[in-house]
Symmetry: D2
Subunit: 349 residues, 4 copies
């Protein structure tokens, strides 16, 4: 019997952390060896998450790099902004492999991080060591590395929807508008008026228009794809649902092309990648069609009257937008099948 | 004691019809004298709508213009597309005042109606008699007329958000993109997979991209405001909630102007109109903040980096987007206070 | 023109407080003269509740009995448990009329309050002055008083459903089981894991089984109706919705009686009371059928096999379960029509 | 490599059918060899269920016992009432193993079926061949059989919560009241006013009080456990959520016993069964804590004042209440591990 790779999860009492636990429970090559929470160390993980009763019976560990090293080979960080920048160097010193789900190592320029996150950035030397793990775009760089910065939820949905068209030169990079919508779990488990049931239920609201900290991450990859600086208009909305992100994206066509061309372009671009599914002409994905799974589904509408294409991309924000892609990165990093442990069928309805 | 104006409601067993009943129940100058449904004539209205128990105890009448004339002075039509085009001429013959909530008389060009609605259009002679009742834009034309075509829900939210900026020449009419989201009640009370709870709950979906029948209605008014033909990119989405529409709108600025300028422009444009509320800088309205009321709330975000403005406009689709604006049109038509019977405070939470 | 009675609302930034504002906005004999919040004094009420933009433009006042007296004749308290017990005596000294929506004055026995609420009780001398304002049962006592303790949400739904059958001797008081369900707004606006959207959405949970602080209030009135001590089994559940309470109640019949008998009994019991509606045989009310209104709707099912009756009672927890009944008490206290300002049609859908 | 057992699913376009597909996709010993739908034969299964895009690419087969035999060894029927009673005999003739998820073979008395279901019952000779597969109670009978009638959703939640206490003689069988609540997916995928989003969202309603067709199934097992005839009061409610059932159950204690005794009794009763989890004292399960999984979680509250116990039991209606338990039955029937392919962690949040 195979010895499974042992993983530790820092931030096990947040939604990203428990989703990692859910997904890894069925992983063929990895197993959770330590669940870690600085705020609840010493308590059973199932006390705060009764859905784990009888499944994970251990106590939460405290954050201690040497102790983590004794138990695990790989560490996932599912922590709020500002934690990983300080903790990762201590974990790397222990020769642990690290996959960080936070935004702390996504932006190579400290000044950009500080502008958008409003916090001190990680040390430039540490930033340099991170590989940005947007699997379908930069997956080749991930294999064999030991420190991955996992992309954000909005950037994942947005970039998988835009990069092929930009690389092909089919859309004008200066014309891109992203209208994004997210379920509430993206805001985490912290209690505030902004996550209060009665405030959000039967309500739809916009927030952080053009100010979301995912903007520079999106523009970084779009610029890389376009070969020049790209700025975008980016709006985020809260949908009265728990899981799911849709990015509805608009761009000017450089010349008219029917939807069938887009479908073919994207199917070729993502050929061999198990988690991107392209919808047939006249169909667009809905968020529930990827719920609980690692899929990103994409559909197109071309309007000859306006010369614009509308691209619809959906993911489960906690899976492909967080824990699922992190495991996908683990798989690539370790040389396992890209979809090992991730072949979940979306839960519908 | 004043004799109230007697109104009849055709289509009383749809959501638009019962919302008219709810709102008119408190109207100071009008009273519901006949509730009409071709499909359920002879049954008590409260049988299908127990929330009306003890409030409206009458039986539903059948559709009969002469009988309506005997009971009422004004008729509201809250009927599916294709009904009003045939019924309105018979009602006008009876010298009834008519307010049609359907799309049958909104588009003056029969060919355009037939292209977008996929049904035979109304007679051109009848179309000519209709006044398009977007109150805050065309309210002056409504007074004293006897046949009003009430605007659609998406057009109301969209146009109130765009017209002042277009008239002022502050945005490029060729750059307009409207990303609209609606609660499910907009789809009516008909049962289908598309209105099935388990299919829509915890789900967010796009539909009819660039094909929605409200597109030509929006472009008609935008073109009127711009003084030349305007085409737009228009996406509709279904939100897992019952009521509410948000239109998130994007346009290129003709020159940079801060949000404060937009706020001032819109406040002046809508001065004296009781139902448009402009949000202060850095705030955008959420749909629940107008639930159950006739308000349209609007907020702005200007992005200097991209040279675009984002305009957020929300309404309750069944009130300002249907029954409420219809009563506002009644008020204007009759010379009553514009907000008579419509001073409902939004129901929050 | 009538001089309206001026009312002040302490706790204007909670859901009970803003619901009072919503309902009183249309009251023919009363007007809100002061909105009060100890936590947000000095801020505009609309800052925290943008749905009130343009409707209530004043600043929140601080809690100061003499200042309240200068502005108002009647005070509503929509404050958390433990506030009214200290504040009411100071308001009564000012010869203000008081309607307290909290639980502080509902239980005449201090020891019972302290057992169930876990807080110090009000002074016995103050407790004696309070009239328990369950309008349809004790409405006669309310007229002309100056200090009313407004019933709780669960007790209102439960007691209106049980009292007639108990008084008639048709059900065994020892057999009563109440299975109650509430929307989340009943938990107030405070942010906690227990009101977090992602924890409650698509979830149904039981809480405080047999321990809810409304148990003694229910048993107090049931005992009064039965003429002897009654204890009940009482379960509360959270429903993933904002508004609405359903109490599903079970009791053993003292002898078999068909549903029609119950219907007749209740219609006679509530004859002349505008807010209780009895459903016809084979029909039971749903919470949405009273949303936004002051109605309590009741239906019955008798099972000959088991000798039990099931009684279903629904209210809007923020209206008949709080602000609406408080205004109904104001109406009775002042000798106005019982339904003045409360003739709202339920908002459906 | 093991040859997997091939299964066919009749009724693949209903919620029970697609849930079988989802769960079986990861089964170690079984594989879906034919998806069958009489209404949509010839169409790709993913056309109606885009969440299966790229996962199940085959066309739907028509219902043909011989053709099924050629493809499969075991057939699941996830069909509406009245279909299996006619189809099962033809499948058994083909020497197919059959697991029927409908109610057609749960009640051994044809007259009882006809009374509660309002349809002709199955042939008595066929009824005799069925084994009622409530796994944790009758699992021993299942092994080695070839025709299983899978229990209903409400009965599963209810019976797992009541049987141990009844068998132990701790509760009075004449005192049982079951207040059950279900998500909307239990009503199936058929479109009707009763499954319409706008009618159910933000609404809570009771239905079929004491008339639900699951009543005789519940009483059959309770009577078996009690050793004498038991009748119950049984109420069903619709919760505005998609998945999940809670049964809140009330019974008179034969003598006082603290909650700890119940916990111990149930833990012993279900020892070795992987899918029943008992909550510690003072805690009750919520439906989301079992979402997407095959667990049934149970908690207790004993009230000394009334001498009653309240038992709370939750399941996912589409998993433990349908497809999951059907696979559990397959596992038992085939002699595989009881939880093979069913070790899903609940999806939370």
């Amino acid at each position: 019997m195979e010895n499974k790779t042992r993983v530790a999860i820092v931030g096990s009492t947040g939604y990203g952390g428990v989703e990692l636990i859910r997904l890894l429970q069925a992983h063929p090559h990895a197993e959770v060896a330590s669940v870690i929470s600085s705020s609840s160390a010493g308590e059973p993980i199932a006390a705060g998450f009764p859905h784990l009763s009888g499944i994970r019976t251990e106590l939460l560990d405290d954050v201690d790099p040497a102790a983590i090293r004794a138990k695990a080979d790989v560490v996932f960080l599912a922590t709020p902004a500002g934690v990983a920048s300080k903790l990762v160097p201590r974990l790397l010193e222990q020769e642990l492999k690290v996959i960080d789900l936070s935004g702390d190592f996504r932006l190579p320029e400290p000044a950009v991080y500080e502008q958008w996150y409003g916090k001190p950035a990680a040390d430039p030397a540490d930033l340099e060591q991170a590989t940005f793990g947007l699997c379908e775009i930069y997956g080749d760089r991930v294999q064999g590395t030991s420190f991955i910065s996992n992309p954000g939820c909005y950037p994942t949905a947005t970039l998988l929807g835009l990069v092929p068209a930009i690389k092909a030169g089919w859309i004008d990079p200066d014309s891109i508008i992203v209208d994004a919508k997210s379920g509430v779990s993206g805001a985490g488990r912290g209690a505030s008026l902004g996550t209060h049931y009665s405030e959000l239920n039967e309500n739809f609201k916009a927030y952080k228009i053009n100010k979301h900290q995912h903007v520079p991450e999106i523009e970084m990859v779009l610029s890389d794809a376009a070969g020049r600086d790209v700025v975008t208009t980016f709006t985020t909305h809260l949908v009265p649902m728990t899981r799911g992100i849709m990015a509805t994206m608009y761009a000017k066509l450089t010349e008219h092309r029917p939807e069938a061309d887009f479908i073919q372009l994207y199917e070729e671009f993502y050929a061999g990648r198990p988690f991107v599914r392209i919808r047939p002409e006249g169909q667009w994905p809905a968020t529930k069609e990827v719920a609980g799974s690692n899929y990103c589904d994409i559909g197109f509408a071309v309007d000859r009257r306006t010369g614009r294409v509308t691209i619809v991309s959906v993911i489960d924000n906690l899976v492909k937008g967080a824990a699922g892609q992190a495991i996908q990165n683990l798989n690539l990093m370790m040389g396992w099948d890209e979809d090992a442990g991730l072949r979940f069928v979306p839960m519908y309805p």
